[in-house]
């Protein structure tokens, strides 16, 4: 009998292929996140003056704050943020909490690098991906009924990436371990635990149907608030002000780093939404690899190093790619996705959310009858103000004198922009950024 493709058959075929599309989209988002989070390190490398690490972090977070409001306003308009807020107001608390966790973790990394050097600190806090797998399994039904092959792919991939990260960190390390080694180890482990736990609110938000573009706008209040409190608490208001004034030449570069970081983090949020935290975190942890590419090829960081250092870089990069490949090939099958949906239903019941809305958003769709968000004059004003602030600080910025190779920089910028274009277009076509 000849098969007949009816509109109903076509629709059900589309429904069956959608989870696969979303998985591929999540993996692409994770990989793009790694590239942009790694590129965010480039402007900060231009800052070589004696600015306190806490002040560096605070200025970056200020750039992050501006970007976290202007980018969503530009893409969807703040009306979508307000609509999400009305549907799931409880997520404001979760977003603030996640922002606070990020700020404390980021500050801890500064102390970790100071005390034990990047080579030991980075692999220690990169263990956040293993904690993410644990939280994903316990709280959000990730990797449930996934089978031993997917378990091996995800857990094995994350472990291999940690080993690769260790090689890259050793190769890129320039600091000798200092006297307070145990203190540094605790700081690095603490940062890993805080960052790994930060993904609980992320996943919570996306199982409740919130758009990543809305979540980050409230996340940033926690981030900026906690970072400001830490900076004032540790430095004092007047010394902080003096440091900011003396660093006015480099404020722009740090804020630019924060802006680029937000683009990477947005893709990381989409990865957490569509492939879960157990797969999304390790994929976006490839930022270390991209950061090293910038350091080695653009800023000439390993020039004159021993052959063993280059072997470590090559070996570490290959291991990272191997881990990424293993995770990317272990996407969730239908049984595991049914478990995710059960976790989403649990959230809907607890927080009194419309199940059809949550279901639609998990599929990257709008619910029937939902009004499409639109941009208003306030959104354009928000974008204009943020742009104005960046332009103002750019006029004060001074280009530092340091080794900079334009050719590799153009290549890396092109690769990063291509990933942005491909992933952004695919997200738009598949989900309209829902």
């Amino acid at each position: 009998m000849q098969s007949v493709v009816t509109p109903t058959n076509e629709a059900s075929a589309r429904d069956l292929s959608r989870p696969r599309k979303l998985q591929a989209l999540g993996i692409l988002s994770g990989f793009t996140a790694g590239a942009w989070l790694g590129a965010a390190e480039a402007p900060t490398k231009l800052v070589s003056v004696g600015v306190s690490p806490i002040v560096i972090s605070l200025i970056m977070v200020t750039g992050v704050f501006l970007a976290r409001w202007s980018v969503p306003a530009l893409i969807l308009g703040t009306s979508s943020v307000r609509a999400d807020l009305r549907r799931a107001p409880h997520l404001i608390i979760w977003a603030l909490l996640a922002g606070c966790l990020w700020a404390v973790a980021n500050t801890m990394t500064i102390f970790a690098i100071r005390d034990i050097g990047l080579s030991i600190a980075f692999p220690l806090w990169n263990s956040n991906s293993l904690l993410g797998i644990l939280w994903g399994f316990i709280f959000f039904n990730e990797l449930r009924q996934a089978g031993w092959r997917r378990w091996t792919g995800v857990l094995g991939g994350a472990l291999v990436m940690c080993v690769g990260a260790a090689f890259l960190a050793i190769a890129s390390s320039t600091q000798a371990p200092a006297a307070h080694s145990m203190r540094g180890v605790w700081a690095a482990l603490g940062a890993g635990i805080l960052w790994g736990t930060m993904y609980i609110p992320y996943r919570k938000a996306y199982l409740s149907g919130m758009s990543p573009l809305s979540f980050v706008t409230f996340f940033t209040f926690g981030e900026l608030g906690m970072m400001t409190a830490l900076a004032i608490g540790y430095l004092g208001l007047l010394p902080l002000w003096h440091e900011l004034k003396s660093a006015q030449d480099v404020l722009f570069w740090l804020m630019l780093g924060g802006f680029i970081w937000v683009i990477g983090d947005l893709f990381q949020q989409y990865a957490a939404k569509y492939v879960g935290i157990s797969r999304g975190i390790p994929l976006s942890n490839t930022n270390q690899f991209w950061g090293l590419l910038w350091g080695v090829f653009v800023f000439g960081e390993l020039r004159g190093s021993a052959a063993s250092t280059y072997m470590q870089v090559i070996g570490g990069s290959l291991l990272m790619m191997l881990g990424v490949g293993a995770i990317a090939l272990s996407s969730a099958a239908s049984k595991e996705q049914a478990q995710w949906q059960e976790a989403a239903r649990r959230e809907s019941r607890r927080y009194n959310l419309a199940e059809d809305f949550v279901e639609a958003r998990m599929q990257g769709k709008q619910v029937a009858g939902e009004v499409r968000p639109s941009r208003t004059v306030w959104d354009w004003m928000l974008v204009a103000v943020a742009t104005g602030v960046f332009v103002f600080f750019a006029t004060m910025a001074r280009a530092p004198r340091m080794s900079f190779h334009g050719g590799p920089a153009v290549l890396l910028i092109t690769a990063t922009l291509v990933l942005l274009l491909v992933c952004g277009t695919t997200l738009w076509q598949t989900t309209r950024f829902n």
Binding site: L97, L194, I200
Partner: protein, 41 residues
Amino acid sequence: MRPANNREEPRNWLSRVLTDLHFWIPVAVLIGGLVLLESIH
């Protein structure tokens, strides 16, 4: 079907958050992080 907009009283959704076990894990980790930060600073 429930409406897409959740117009509950703030007290309701706040109590749902505060009685959610998931909420207290990040809170405990954040408090632990602040204590650790204070001790290593």
